[in-house]
């Protein structure tokens, strides 16, 4: 008899600066699948004026030795300039944007608006029977908001995945 073993895991946030070339996202995402790593969230956009460099933020989880391998394997890709494990070098800020659609009338509608206010979520679309709220914050703040909205007529949720940055004056 044989069972598959599991190891203790950690969540890490990595930022990866890459040449903005065709196939780079497939290379990175594919690296994760090919080597059996996890992607919890991945965001990407170019960050230079001439659009030549992109910054990718990846949230992953795995045993510490695997996180180190992920770091090294990413660095091994030719178009990758720099990999920073924010969880390692921290502290860092992380932000995510969500759009949350809630439909309801009467007391539920009022309550949704009240909670949105507490969370500083902004209604960006309204009908007489629905709202779309825009909310930014750390992922657990968004989790909590979505949970609360579930009882108040949640229709759908869209999330960007996080972007993150090291605190302080320096570049990571």
């Amino acid at each position: 008899m044989m069972h598959i073993k599991h190891e203790a895991e950690e969540r890490h946030v990595l930022t990866v600066t890459v040449d903005n070339e065709a196939g780079i996202l497939a290379k990175i995402a594919g690296l994760f699948t090919a080597r059996g790593y996890n992607i919890d969230s991945l965001t990407v956009a170019d960050i230079t004026e001439n659009h030549s460099v992109s910054r990718i933020t990846i949230v992953t989880h795995g045993p510490p030795s695997q996180i180190d391998q992920i770091h090294a394997q990413l660095e091994r890709l030719v178009p990758v300039h720099k990999v920073v494990d924010l969880t390692e070098v921290g502290p860092y800020v992380q932000r995510e944007l969500a759009l949350v659609k809630v439909a309801g009338v009467g007391e539920k509608r009022v309550e949704a608006l009240r909670i949105a206010d507490v969370f500083r979520a902004k209604p960006v679309d309204t009908t007489t029977g629905s709202f779309i709220f825009e909310l930014t914050g750390a992922p657990d703040k968004i989790d909590t908001f979505v949970t609360l909205m579930r009882e108040l007529g949640l229709v759908e949720v869209g999330r960007t995945g996080i972007v993150a940055m090291i605190r302080g004056a320096e570049e990571a």
Binding site: A34, A72, P79
Partner: protein, 632 residues
């Protein structure tokens, strides 16, 4: 402008090497002995000065010029629709020698054999779709064994990409995780810089295959070409030197070790001849015994008193015990592969470990080390030697005495047989009888490969070509062909198995066509011996589909291809057969019938530790628990 009247023709004498009618037809030269000894390549400087500054050239033409500029001598390839423009650009161009293989896997392995035996990158040219997919095995093989290749694949025209066009495959997608880097070039203006970067990436840092996918329209469209070096940014600069602190620490650790081992791998070979010389110096200074992985054989001379032999699954008792009992392991260009470490939690339990590797992702991947040094083996060893000064190592005599005790086991010994030739004996005789010729040896995959690693001995780098990481049956014959191209005066022998040789047997035609006098020495045991051995040891001898049924008559097959065929049936014919093979000035198959059911020992069963080696004569259970069975 036609290819013929461009500037380079004026200074290259086409007629000197090729009969005029051959140039017109584009056919290969008639078969004649020793044609390979003609000079190829390396003529770029002759025409450079005469060329005009800038002119429009087709993508195909830019590719050819760029390959010449890189000093490429041989292109291993196979034509097809999506590379016709490139083949047309090659037509009659004698600066590049195109070797027409019989299957694209053969092209990739031949390029590997060329690269491994010469230290230069191998170049492959194949068509889109099936041409590219056929080459993938060889590309993956080169990726795992860190062999520098530049693979050019044709692609359907840009406008048809994504439309499931005829012979379209997502080559860049398919090869993404078995290349070091790959490109889809969409503009001929990018070709020169891309090719230049591809060669740099393939050959520097940890070498590996780089693929360039070129749509057919990009081969035909033109772009400006100049003789000036391609303009590009330099974004790839792998580290070469180790950090000064780490070097100092390494020196202290080595100088204070009482039981050190140098554990070397393919990285030493990739690092070049200088690395093998420096390794010898390091060994002399430190007195440490040396073992090597399968890929590193030849980096340290096998007749040295401190040579332990290969380590790992089929390594020697002394190498594996020394690793197990060492207080310091200095890993130089090896990667703690599962075939080397055996059971991880029992691997070298009492040792400190230094790991020198140019690829930081190899460090702490499977085994946690105490001192990582990211850098090129030759440079790092040189740094260690510089810092070593006049230090004296510890007295290692007690350690050496223990090692001598392990050597007493004579773990490579095997029982002789009256009825049949023992395969190990065949390798020993092959070694003894070819030793003075310093041959290049390639292998297929299986027991014969391990016996070759154990009983053939190497004294210098680039003589041993084997598929280590991927373990690709069918590697050996094309690799031998590639090696023979790069080493026209060398004796090149593929030590083969009866099953493996059939995986790329079609390449016999390639050797015939180009008069490549490669030798194929088959240890014919009528089994997929390695599979049979595992079934004997783990599945109670249920030999499921491992018998080599319906084998061809290899001697007749040799003759059918214009080779010489020799059969060796008993020990009395062994030496004469080997000598006849060596003496024949052309390709030879030797069908050496060996004992059918011998096993390859010593062996560390997968999932076992270095101390649980099985030696000849040990009784083996014939079964294993599921945990062990699940390991590869």
């Amino acid at each position: 402008m036609t290819r013929r009247d461009d500037c380079r023709v004026g200074s290259v004498s086409l007629e000197s090497a090729w009969p005029a009618e051959m140039l017109v037809s584009g056919a290969d030269p008639p078969m004649e002995a020793g044609f390979l000894k003609r000079p190829f390549g390396g003529r770029a400087p002759e025409y450079e000065e005469e060329c005009v500054v800038s002119e429009e050239r087709s993508g195909a033409n830019i590719l050819v010029e760029s390959l010449v500029r890189q000093g490429v001598e041989f292109v291993f390839g196979y034509p097809g629709g999506a590379v016709l423009p490139i083949y047309d650009a090659l037509f009659g161009d004698e600066r590049l020698r195109h070797i027409l293989v019989r299957h694209e896997a053969g092209a990739a392995h031949a390029a590997e054999g060329y690269a491994r035996s010469t230290g230069k990158p191998g170049v492959v040219l194949v068509t889109s779709g099936p041409g590219a997919t056929n080459a993938v095995t060889g590309i993956a093989d080169a990726f795992l064994d860190s062999i520098p290749l530049v693979v050019i694949t044709g692609q359907v025209p840009t406008a048809l990409i994504g439309s499931d066009a005829f012979q379209e495959a997502d080559t860049v997608g398919i090869s993404r995780h078995c290349t070091k880097h790959n490109y889809l070039v969409k503009d001929p203006a990018d070709l020169a810089a891309t090719i230049d970067e591809a060669f740099q990436i393939a050959t520097t840092g940890r070498p590996g295959p780089v693929l360039i996918d070129i749509p057919k329209d990009v081969q035909i469209a033109t772009a400006p070409w100049t003789d000036a070096p391609a303009q590009r940014r330099n974004r790839y600069s792998p580290p070469t030197l180790g950090g000064a602190d780490e070097i100092a620490q390494a020196i202290d650790m080595i100088a204070s070790a009482k039981a050190p081992v140098l554990y070397t791998g393919g990285g030493i070979i990739n690092s070049g001849l200088r690395a093998t010389q420096l390794l010898r110096e390091l060994q002399e200074k430190t007195g440490a015994p040396v073992t090597s992985t399968l890929m590193g054989l030849g980096a340290f001379p096998a007749d040295h008193a401190d040579w332990l032999g290969m380590l790992g699954m089929h390594g020697t008792y002394e190498a594996n015990l020394a690793m197990n009992q060492a207080d310091l392991i200095v890993c130089l260009g090896a990667r703690f592969d599962d075939r080397v470490t055996g059971r991880l939690d029992a691997f070298a339990p009492n040792s400190k470990k230094i790991h020198v590797d140019i690829d930081r992702s190899s460090i702490n991947k499977t085994v946690q080390v105490d001192l990582p040094i990211v850098g090129d083996c030759a440079s790092v060893i040189e740094q260690i030697l510089e810092g070593w000064g006049s230090r004296k190592p510890q007295d290692l005599s007690a350690w050496k005495a223990r090692i001598d005790g392990w050597r007493e086991k004579k773990s490579l010994s095997f029982p002789l047989s009256k009825e049949a030739i023992m395969p190990q004996l065949a390798i020993q005789r092959l070694f003894e009888l070819t030793r003075d010729k310093d041959p290049v040896i390639s292998t297929e995959v299986g027991q014969h490969q391990m016996w070759a690693a154990q009983h053939f001995h190497f004294f210098g780098p680039n003589k041993w070509l084997t598929s280590g990481g991927l373990g690709t049956m069918g590697y050996g014959l094309p690799a031998a062909i590639g090696a023979q191209c790069g080493n026209p005066d060398s004796l090149v022998i593929d030590i083969a198995g009866d099953a493996s040789i059939q995986m790329n047997i079609q390449e016999m035609g390639t050797a015939t066509q180009y008069r490549l006098p490669v030798k194929v020495f088959i240890l014919n045991n009528e089994w997929m011996g390695m599979v049979r051995q595992w079934q004997e040891l783990t599945y109670e001898s249920r030999y499921s589909n491992s018998y080599s049924d319906s084998l061809p008559d290899f001697v007749k097959l040799a003759e059918a291809y214009g080779w010489k065929g020799i059969r060796i049936e008993n020990e009395s014919q062994l030496d004469a057969g080997i000598k006849a093979m060596i003496e024949h000035d052309g390709p030879v198959i030797v069908d050496c019938l060996v004992a059918k059911e011998s096993n390859c020992f010593p062996m560390i069963p997968s999932g076992a530790s270095h101390t649980e080696m099985i030696l000849y004569g040990d009784t083996v259970a014939g079964t294993m628990d599921d945990e062990a069975k699940a390991l590869v």
